[in-house]
Symmetry: C2
Subunit: 352 residues, 2 copies
């Protein structure tokens, strides 16, 4: 409940402590060369006045630029998912460029762990002030953030989290809940006593794990609601169309499904199969706002897409780092993205 109408600066602090602004500056940037007693006194005054450093003047005076490295998957032909986070990162970078922050981009191949470690090493060599990371490969990512911690480099995680890491924050989905919601939607579309197919498509084990969490969420819903559904599931480890087609063909011969739930953005591949086989009447639910998926949404082959603001993940990742580094404000440690439902009617208004 203090009046803080008059913004106090270093010189007011200096006046009250009977020292020069240089000394105050030294304790603020905790540099050496101040006796313990005066340092203490100054800190006390700073606290008492609730001194807020003028970030404007600070950035103006400091000629050194802050450097942030982002390390995320490259968007491949297989999935353009990472285009969106990258755009968010770029947008944030544009906005804070004027404040003396530059962002360098590093990309790795989702199907090749070596590219990850290589880029990680490069980043460590360059001594960045902050790192934005998509920790797709758990082991390797753990090793990387350990190195960052050692070098006192703050880092933010997006898209998936790492256990026990002291990141600045995590920004991304709650996978379990996301599958749970998908199940809820499914139930709206279903007659009682119907059959559901869960399709998990991914090559790398690390990624596959995410899908299994979603699947758990999906199953949990039906369990909690004592719904009588017959759930069949398949794990497809080769994401090319031929493999998927073969697998689906086999399954569709054996079963009669009412709903198909694809646990990631590859839903368009299944949609393609539906289209080619002229399958209709089966509801299709999947993930992510990709052009391919949207096309099938428009054609009513896909019924619902679940999306978790990939672009905002990138954007928030950078701005969180910026706030941590420049403004030094406290950051929410876990920022779960909203779970958005996209249909043929609202996709035009969706912003990632």
């Amino acid at each position: 409940m203090k009046k803080q109408e008059s913004p106090v600066g270093v010189k007011e602090i200096a006046r009250r402590a009977n020292v020069s602004i240089g000394t105050v500056d030294r304790v603020l940037n905790n540099r050496t060369g101040v006796s313990a007693s005066t340092k203490e006194k100054i800190l006390e005054i700073i606290k008492e006045l609730d001194y807020q450093p003028n970030v404007i003047a600070r950035r103006l005076a400091s000629k050194k630029v802050l450097r942030i490295a982002s390390l995320i998957p490259s968007s491949s032909r297989e999935t353009g998912y990472w285009e969106a986070p990258l755009n968010g990162i770029k947008q944030a970078a544009d906005e804070i460029r004027a404040f003396g922050v530059v962002v360098d981009h590093y990309f790795f191949n989702q199907n090749d762990k070596k590219t990850f470690t290589k880029k990680a090493k490069e980043i460590l060599r360059t001594d960045y002030d902050g790192v934005l990371l998509a920790p797709m490969f758990e082991q390797e990512a753990q090793a990387f953030v350990a190195k960052c911690a050692e070098k006192q480099i703050p880092y933010v995680l997006i898209n998936s989290d790492l256990k026990d890491s002291d990141r600045v924050c995590y920004i991304g989905p709650d996978l379990h809940k996301s599958g749970y919601l998908a199940a809820h939607l499914t139930k709206y579309l279903l007659p009682p006593q119907s059959a559901v197919l869960i399709v998990n498509i991914s090559r790398e084990m690390d990624q596959h794990h995410h899908l299994l969490v979603k699947e758990e969420g999906f199953r949990a819903y039906f369990k909690n609601h004592h719904a009588d559904v017959n759930i069949v599931k398949t794990d497809i480890r080769e994401p090319d169309y031929e493999s998927i087609q073969a697998e689906l063909k086999k399954l569709f011969r054996k079963h009669q499904f009412d709903v198909v739930f694809v646990s990631n953005s590859r839903v368009f591949t299944v949609a393609r199969y539906f289209e080619e086989q002229k399958i209709s009447g089966i509801k299709l639910i999947g993930y992510d706002f990709l052009p391919e998926n949207i096309a099938y949404l428009q054609k009513n082959v896909i019924d619902f897409l679940i999306c978790q603001k990939p672009q905002e993940q990138g954007y928030k990742g950078i701005t969180s780092l910026y706030q941590h580094l420049v403004l030094q404000t406290a950051i929410e440690k876990e920022q779960f993205m909203p779970i958005d439902i996209i249909t043929a009617e609202n996709y035009q208004y969706y912003r990632n």
Copy 2:
């Protein structure tokens, strides 16, 4: 494709033009005291160098604070809707306070035009640098923005737009599309040949107009899809529970509905009626993330809520004004909010 690695400043411009930085400064802030010829020369050099003023230094040097006024409805007992935009406004205000911007809040009563005009007059008297406005009362708002234009005060509109106004931008929903989506959802929930009730609840004519646009969108969907549904609608002009109860009772005696669509946030009132009358099996769709609505969502009385990020509307309104005033960047003239679907499963992750 220019190299713009080396940020040029006024003094580089001054050097090239053979004048002092003072003169350059004069043409930058187009003040008087510069001959036409030198002014032209300087402008040319500025363009050639693609000079970007240093916003940091600019705000530091300029001791004057920018003042923004926000004029929105107070959140009443009847509806807490405006709480969210207000929070967004406050959040944005916090973030840009450090940059020398202050935001003053003005509120009016949605049921009383006089309170609007009174506050508007106050704002005009105080000479603000920018205005954020929710133009609920069309005529009065038009008069207000005309005055703003006259005084060269830029303004941003949120929640609803004004025809032919030269606002900095409009931020809010596309009402028609929003009703259209509601209809789409409805169709998922419906057996063929079913009956739908549309409920519009609002006292003031101006507000009621918004609802009618949503209703149009709702009907348009069924028309476009040649769906065979029986639509009944009612306009309730007294938002208290008793009036609504009476009207619903009358309607439910006459008809058998499968879906009820309430065109604004008052859906909780209808939900209360459902609960009290132990009506179940009828799907209920409405608007806005209010505590009352969420409560009924949890109890599965309300099935879907449509929401258009009211908090973000406030937030973006302020930051747009900030970008216009301080950074002088170009602003997207029409920023339609995404149309979000909220269910019992994802509401916890919804952020306004």
